[in-house]
């Protein structure tokens, strides 16, 4: 019974409490931000925080970012960090859908989805099968998509109502972003909530989710357990590209123009939301519910900073610093949990 005595009990404390804290905790932080907004407003430092309009603004922004983040979270969960081709996927699918609006609304949507899936499949094969570095490959992919946009559409911006004379598809397209149930709940919000529920279910309650968890936690072990890791990774990238495409449609509907700059910044904001939502870049940890919380925090933080008069770009500095801080803390804690855990 030598083996038993040799176990150092200090390392054996369960981290169930910290697990609970990390998934609930992010909502506590979100609540703190709301309190902060209310306090700042009552002190007269910011105006219009607690108004219906501002709350709707926050929710709408969270919905768009959330749609991207839920999909990208599958990539992070699989241990492949992030999809840097998300912004150009948003731009490209948006442009394609506007271009195809001349054939009607359904072909426009279908076309965008097909383009998005092609990008996802290429990413999935190159990263899953050939093990290219996900960051550098998706970066290259974003340059290629950008090249396609510049090559085919040069520097044109294309407008739905210029593409077609038929007002009906244009009206439908405009309403992807603008349609509201009961004049309050926007369509992107509904889509995001559905994606969150479905995403959480897939990740935590299906065999695919369990296999993705194993892939993200220990890829070689997953392979040696009979899991088709190449397929798992490819599916993660395809799921990400799919939700990014939905975001692309919504964002293009919002701006009413298909252009190469739509979607800029969504990659970094999404991955920041993912990591502060408790999903570590090491893979196999966290949940979609946590990611939703992370997105909420990012949305609230952006809103308060904007109300405080902090410029959009100065916000990047703060977001970048928070990202590095969270990732750094995660790296430290993961390492201190055991010598085998790099």
């Amino acid at each position: 019974m030598n083996g038993i005595q040799k176990v150092d009990t200090r390392a054996l404390q369960t981290n169930r409490f910290s697990k609970l804290l990390s998934s609930i905790g992010i909502y506590a932080i979100a609540a703190l931000f709301i309190v902060l907004g209310v306090v700042l407003q009552s002190m007269g430092i910011i105006n219009n925080f607690l108004t219906t309009q501002n709350m709707m603004n926050i929710v709408d922004a969270v919905a768009l970012l959330g749609i991207v983040a839920v999909g990208m979270a599958f990539i992070t969960y699989s241990g492949h960090y992030a999809d840097l081709s998300a912004p150009t996927t948003i731009a490209l699918t948006g442009i394609v859908s506007v271009e195809l609006l001349r054939f009607g609304f359904i072909p426009a949507i279908m076309g965008a989805v097909v383009v998005g899936l092609i990008i996802g499949i290429i990413n999935g094969i190159v990263i899953g099968k050939f093990k290219a570095n996900p960051i550098i490959w998706t970066l290259a992919m974003s340059y290629v998509s950008m090249g396609v946009i510049r090559f085919v559409w040069v520097n044109k911006q294309i407008y739905p109502d210029v593409i077609t004379d038929d007002p009906f598809p244009v009206m439908l397209f405009d309403n992807i972003y603008r349609f509201r149930f009961f004049n309050a709940i926007s369509l992107p919000l509904i889509i995001m909530l559905v994606l969150v529920v479905v995403g959480q279910f897939i990740l935590k309650r299906t065999a695919f989710g369990a296999q993705l968890k194993l892939t993200g936690s220990a890829k070689r072990t997953a392979k040696f357990s009979g899991i088709n890791v190449e397929l798992m990774i490819a599916l993660a990238f395809i799921i990400s590209a799919f939700t990014t495409t939905i975001a692309g449609l919504a964002i293009t509907s919002l701006s009413r123009v298909g252009a190469y700059y739509n979607g800029a910044g969504y990659d970094f904001r999404a991955v920041t939301a993912i990591v502060i939502g408790g999903m570590t870049l090491a893979g196999g940890r966290g949940s979609i519910i946590g990611v939703l919380g992370g997105t909420l925090v990012i949305g609230l933080m952006n809103n308060i900073m904007t109300l405080l008069g902090v410029g959009t770009f100065s916000q990047d500095i703060i977001r970048g610093a928070i990202f590095i801080l969270v990732v750094g803390i995660n790296a430290k804690t993961l390492r201190s949990m055991g010598r085998d855990d790099a």
């Binding site: 093990k131 960051i135 550098i136 970066l139 396609v148 510049r150 090559f151 991955v271």
Partner: protein, 343 residues
């Protein structure tokens, strides 16, 4: 007899692989000189050398980071950031003070990257995505979202001096770049410090066991990378007396492609300064050529994106293939070949 032939062939192939970047350079140069209109003349070649200066300078430090087995995605934004600082502060203090401050700011970015990678042990891809975003925010905050441009006789005199050929085809900025290249090449390939970069990239544990301070080596690599990116950005801005907010954005794609084409592996321990510089030059000739053939800028963007994708794909595919043969026994393969011959 048979075997010897085969060996010679594989040796030749290995040799070709070793010099592939120089061969590629020669092929592109000869092809463009023969077929691209207005390519082979001193004006165009000077333009190419001037344009290539920025990315060649960035590639010097970046190659070192890659040799160490790390990645620095913040190079382009560091170049812009430093350029913007140098020009903004010039208005108040003059270049004499603003340039050193901007270079130091660049070095500071590298120090931050290096510490986060070496000490906190965050993946360098992730760290530099973070610093990339921070730098973009900082650049826009400093400038309020507008390009910076300078005017005044003194400033213009400096830009003219940097751009006007001192020797045939060689303006001071190009000469400076050549000087950097020589210094970096000698440093990396011939000094103890330089070889340590290879050792750390080749096998970090070996280096550590041999008493090399691997953390310090990694941090130095990041500092050199950011500093050279800053220097490149500053010189570019000084020559044009202006800095746009996206001036460094294309450099990332450019320098990453060139460094990998030059034979510096993403896995570390391999490659060289000269190879990266020649690769940058080859790419620049290729892009200039496409423009000279009458294609627009959008074609250039398309091609350069495609090249990066192909290069990354090629490297991934090559290591995928290599992985399949790890542990293969040459004896057994020979046996198989003999058995086949008998049939």
């Amino acid at each position: 007899m048979m075997r010897k032939n085969k060996l010679d062939k594989s040796k030749l192939l290995a040799l070709g692989d070793r010099f592939r970047i120089y061969i590629l350079f020669g092929v592109i140069f000869i092809f463009m000189s023969l077929f691209a209109p207005r390519f082979f003349n001193s004006y165009n070649l000077t333009t190419i050398l001037r344009t290539v200066s920025m990315n060649a300078t960035i590639a010097l430090g970046f190659t070192i980071v890659m040799i160490c087995g790390e990645m620095d995605l913040s190079i382009g934004r560091t170049a812009t950031f430093a350029a913007v600082i140098a020009l903004t502060l010039q208005k108040k203090f003059g270049y004499g003070i603003s340039v050193p401050i901007a270079v130091l700011a660049g070095a500071g970015v590298g120090l931050l990257n290096g510490i986060l990678v070496a000490k906190i042990k965050i993946n360098s891809f992730i760290v530099t995505i973070g610093t990339m975003t921070i730098l973009q925010g900082a650049t826009y905050t400093i400038t309020g979202g507008n390009s910076v441009s300078l005017s005044g006789d003194k400033v213009f005199a400096i830009s003219d001096f940097l751009a006007k050929p001192l020797l045939p085809m060689l303006p001071p900025r190009v000469l400076l770049t050549i000087l950097f290249v020589v210094v970096f090449h000698l440093f990396v390939s011939n000094s103890q410090w330089g070889r340590n970069f290879y050792m750390v990239g080749g096998n970090r544990t070996t280096a550590w066991l041999a008493g090399i301070n691997t953390d310090r080596i990694t941090i130095t690599a990041f500092i050199l990378s950011s500093t050279m990116a800053a220097v490149a950005g500053i010189l570019f801005a000084m020559e044009s007396s202006a800095a746009t907010l996206n001036m460094g954005d294309n450099s990332l794609m450019y320098v990453v492609s060139a460094t990998i084409i030059g034979g510096t592996a993403m896995s570390g321990g391999k490659g060289g300064i000269l190879r990266s510089v020649v690769a940058v030059l080859s790419l620049e000739m290729l892009y200039t050529g496409t423009i000279l053939f009458g294609f627009g800028n959008e074609v250039k963007i398309f091609i350069s994106g495609l090249i990066l994708a192909l290069v990354v794909l090629y490297e991934a595919y090559a290591s995928y293939k290599h992985e399949k043969t790890i542990g293969q026994r040459a004896v057994l393969l020979e046996e198989l070949a003999q058995a086949k011959e008998k049939i």
